[in-house]
């Protein structure tokens, strides 16, 4: 089977303005949503207590709310269904510092008239740890971006590095915008998902860039936009296929992987889509805008080869005892 049969290069670069505008609109919209609406931080980053309770039958959510409203420690607690209508999650911003007693110890007593239930999970994060985790998360993201910048600069050229990082920022911003828009709870696993998107989207971009690098070296036509068109078209099949397989597995994870990793897999789903889009339509046009010059690159490569050859010659001469 073959879906993407290469016939002639698509003319992407001539339409790059249109894609650029679409991307800029999405990024601005996302930033707007993030600034206006803010993130729905979960207990990992805000501190608080989460209690997951499973009932034998239908969970009497209103009864639970009533029972909790009489308790001072559960002031402002929210109760919602979790995955099915048998299971609920109770969340509060409160947490206890004392080890011997925490909010969940009393819950069995508080809920005893609401039915037959089992406490399945209790997470409690102190406010201090929450802010620490947030700092660490930001640090992690910055560090990965810096690491990626360095590596791509080293393997390709700085313009490739800048372009790929702009594409990454584009992906992460839009993904986070969607998370904010849908009020999806931001916890540690979401952070992990976003870092995975960084790696994944970059993976796609690198494959395209690798082809461009190859094209710059080997194609007779020195026009960058033609090289890019050719390279993106040539890799289109691969980009789509890999995205498809990744999308498929993430989708199964989302659908059957259980409620706990729903947020994680949802974030990945968005990331795969946005990441695929950006590596086809965003990264390469930026490379062009940054003024990457084919002739310069070729000259430098030629120089490199020349240097290497000279070195070899010198070595050969040395080994033959000429010098």
């Amino acid at each position: 089977m073959q879906v993407f049969k290469y016939k002639k290069p698509m003319s992407l670069m001539s339409k790059s303005k249109r894609f650029g505008i679409v991307s800029i609109i999405f990024v601005i919209l996302s930033i707007g949503i993030i600034l206006n609406k803010g993130f729905n931080y979960g207990i990992d980053f805000e501190g608080g207590t989460l209690i997951q309770v499973q009932y034998k039958d239908y969970a009497p959510i209103q009864k639970v709310r009533d029972a909790l409203s009489k308790e001072e420690t559960y002031n402002g607690a929210t109760v919602s269904f979790f995955g099915s209508n048998k299971e609920i999650v109770i969340k509060t911003k409160n947490s206890s510092k004392k080890l011997g007693e925490d909010l969940s110890d009393k819950i069995t007593k508080i809920l005893k008239d609401t039915g037959n239930f089992e406490i399945r999970r209790v997470d409690m994060v102190g406010a201090k740890v929450g802010s620490e985790l947030r700092e660490q998360g930001l640090m992690a993201m910055l560090l990965s971006i810096i690491g990626i910048l360095l590596y791509v600069s080293f393997r390709f050229e700085w313009r490739f590095a800048i372009s790929s990082v702009i594409a990454l920022v584009h992906d992460v911003t839009i993904t986070m915008g969607i998370l904010a828009l849908l009020s999806i709870e931001i916890n540690l696993d979401i952070l992990a998902a976003i870092l995975t998107i960084l790696g994944y989207s970059l993976n796609d971009t690198i494959i395209v860039f690798d082809r461009i690098r190859e094209g710059v070296k080997t194609m007779k036509n020195p026009d960058l936009s033609d090289i890019i068109d050719e390279s993106v078209t040539r890799t289109l099949s691969r980009t789509t296929l890999t995205s498809l397989t990744t999308f498929l597995v993430v989708l199964t994870l989302f659908l059957v992987g259980g409620e706990i990793i729903k947020g994680f897999s949802f974030t990945l789903l968005i990331g795969v889509i946005v990441g695929t889009y950006s590596s086809i339509f965003v990264a390469s046009p930026i490379l062009m805008r940054l003024g990457f010059s084919v002739s310069e690159f070729r000259e430098r490569e030629a120089n490199k080869i020349k240097l290497a050859k000279e070195k070899e010659k010198m070595r050969a001469m040395y080994e033959n005892g000429v010098i």
Binding site: M1, Q2, Y6, Q52, Q54, K98, L99, D102, S104, D105, I119, R120, R121, V122, D123, M124, V125, G126, K128, V129, Q136, G137, A140, S144, G147, I148, L188, D189, A192, L195, T196, L198, G199, L202, N203, D204, I206, I207, D210, R213, E214, R234, T235, L241, T242, T245, T246, F247, L248, V249, V250, T252, L253, L255, V256, G257, G258, I260, F264, L268
Partner: protein, 522 residues
């Protein structure tokens, strides 16, 4: 068919993968295997903070105690021994004893700054000593908590220092909320045992006395653990739990549980001396600042055997004895983060993530065969090899598999075929240009290599950072992903190449549809 080094390498990797992942797959008793994370097997994960300030306070207090003891022992008359604002102050009355006292202080109190003026001493702790005390408090807390959990009889608890001032505690296999609470209480217990003298002169006034006032007499007001009755006690204890060698549960004549403990030689001597000198006075047994009993001393008690009675439940007495045996915490701990997962939720998580893994796997395998024909089958062989390798490497390192870790494996399944997609696309390209099969395969691998390499390295960079900065379960995700990427380099690049080389003579160039899923150019 001819063997080549690639296929041999791949074969070895496959055998390695299968052999070492078997113990984990069948969950056998022996052999190295993957440990399930707390989120999968159920258990308690806690990050504890420590109030090291209190360790400093109690060190200062015990220094004051030892000053008192030595001065008493040498019959040196002193007055106004007090601790105020982390400063020990006292005065001696006889000028002749000044040198002797100074010498003993210098010898016995390293790490303290000693100032004397007009026979009045002022003793403060040096910064360096404070740091040392804090460090000591945390490492002692780690040891103590570990001892307590071990004595409690829990399977494989983890207690470790995290960062400079936190303690990580992980206890797998807790069944109920009640058990969890009991363990938390056991850990929390300072188990700070003190034997204190009742201030008989002033104790009658205890109910009207403020804490400030008590302090000015060098006293402290503590409550009875059950009756809440107030006691006025000398704030410098006669002795404390550091001189204890053993503690066990016993029963009194009414068959209610009590705790027996045994003092070491020094403790026994101090206790014997004190009881001899203070007949008909009362002495309080204080545990974690609560008075458990305050009996009158009838006669000298030698042998260093003391008991705490109180109205204990048996469980409680048992846990207190463990805490006393494993030593007190120099400073109290408090909880910063706690995550507990019940066993049933863990099972559900394992089930649903396994289904996701199996389903994702089948989808990818099916897709690859549909799209690439035999080339897809070869890629799938590599994918299966990759899965076994991930499991084997994790088993060998005894790595922990968490729920995000499972997600990482699922994701790897999607991404590991990427290398083969890239290679197959390259091969197809070359075939369509009319190159021979063997040339297409050779060049296809050459062309694809840099792309795969660079792409994988960058993903590894992200995964490494995630591992370094992630906590707990997230680390598991970064780990499985990293291993998956590395393993895929071997299986997807080397392994499949080897297979192609081996079966090359069989590949019919007129059946490219069967072999590579494309129509050959005639």
């Amino acid at each position: 068919m001819k063997l080549n080094y690639r296929i041999v390498l791949f074969g070895l990797a496959l055998v390695f993968g299968i052999v070492f992942s078997i113990p984990s797959l069948i969950q056998s008793e022996s052999g190295r295997k993957i440990t399930l994370g707390l989120d999968l097997q159920g258990g308690l994960h806690m990050l504890l903070g420590i109030k090291s300030e209190i360790a400093i306070d109690s060190k200062i207090k015990s220094m004051a105690g030892s000053i008192k003891y030595t001065l008493d022992d040498d019959d040196i008359i002193f007055d106004n021994l007090k601790i105020n604002n982390k400063k020990i102050t006292f005065e001696i009355l006889d000028n002749d004893e000044l040198i002797k006292v100074k010498e003993f202080l210098k010898k016995d109190l390293p790490g303290f700054n000693i100032v004397e003026k007009d026979l009045k001493f002022q003793i403060t702790m040096l910064e360096e000593e404070k740091k040392k005390t804090e460090l000591n408090a945390i490492s002692q807390a780690v040891d103590t908590i570990r001892n307590r959990l071990n004595e409690f009889g829990l399977a494989e608890p983890t207690v470790a220092k995290q960062g400079s001032d936190k303690i990580l505690v992980e206890v797998p296999g807790i069944k109920t909320q009640k058990d969890e609470q009991r363990i938390r209480l056991l850990i929390e217990q300072s188990a700070h045992l003190q034997l204190m003298a009742v201030d008989e002169e002033r104790t009658a006034r205890v109910n009207t006395m403020t804490e400030e006032e008590a302090k000015s007499f060098g006293d402290i007001i503590l409550d009875d653990v059950n009756t809440k009755e107030k006691y006025l006690l000398k704030s410098l204890p006669i002795l404390d739990g550091s001189m204890l060698t053993d503690a066990s549960v016993g029963f009194d004549e009414n068959n209610s549980p009590l705790i027996n403990f045994v003092l070491n030689r020094q403790g026994a001597k101090i206790f014997g001396d004190f009881t001899a000198k203070n007949k008909n006075k009362r002495m309080a047994v204080v545990l974690d600042d609560k008075v458990y009993s305050a009996p009158s001393i009838r006669e000298r008690i030698g042998g260093g055997r003391v008991q705490i009675s109180g109205t204990f439940r048996l469980e409680e007495a048992h846990d207190i004895a463990i805490a006393l045996r494993s030593g007190s915490l120099l400073a109290p701990v408090y909880v910063m983060e706690k995550r507990s997962v019940g066993p049933s939720l863990g099972k559900d998580s394992i089930r649903s993530s396994s289904i996701a893994l199996a389903l994702g796997f089948i989808l990818v395998i099916f897709f690859m065969i549909m799209y690439y024909g035999m080339a897809g089958v070869i890629a799938n062989v590599a994918l299966i090899g990759n899965l076994f390798l991930i499991l084997a490497i994790m088993s060998l390192f005894g790595a922990t598999l968490t729920l995000p870790g499972m997600a990482g494996i699922v994701l790897t399944v999607g991404m590991a075929v990427d290398a083969n997609v890239i290679i197959n696309e390259r091969i197809r390209e070359l075939l369509q240009e009319g190159k021979s099969v063997s040339k297409s395969i050779q060049k296809g691998y050459d062309n694809a290599f840099t792309a795969i390499w660079d792409a994988n390295i960058t993903t590894l960079i992200a995964a490494t950072v995630l591992y370094a900065y992630g906590t707990g379960a997230i680390k598991g995700f970064a780990l499985t992903m990293s291993i998956g990427i590395l393993a895929s380099m071997l299986t997807a690049i080397v392994g499949t190449h080897g297979i192609y080389q081996m079966i090359l003579p069989k590949i019919n160039k007129n059946k490219l549809g069967f072999w590579f899923g494309i129509k050959g150019e005639k």
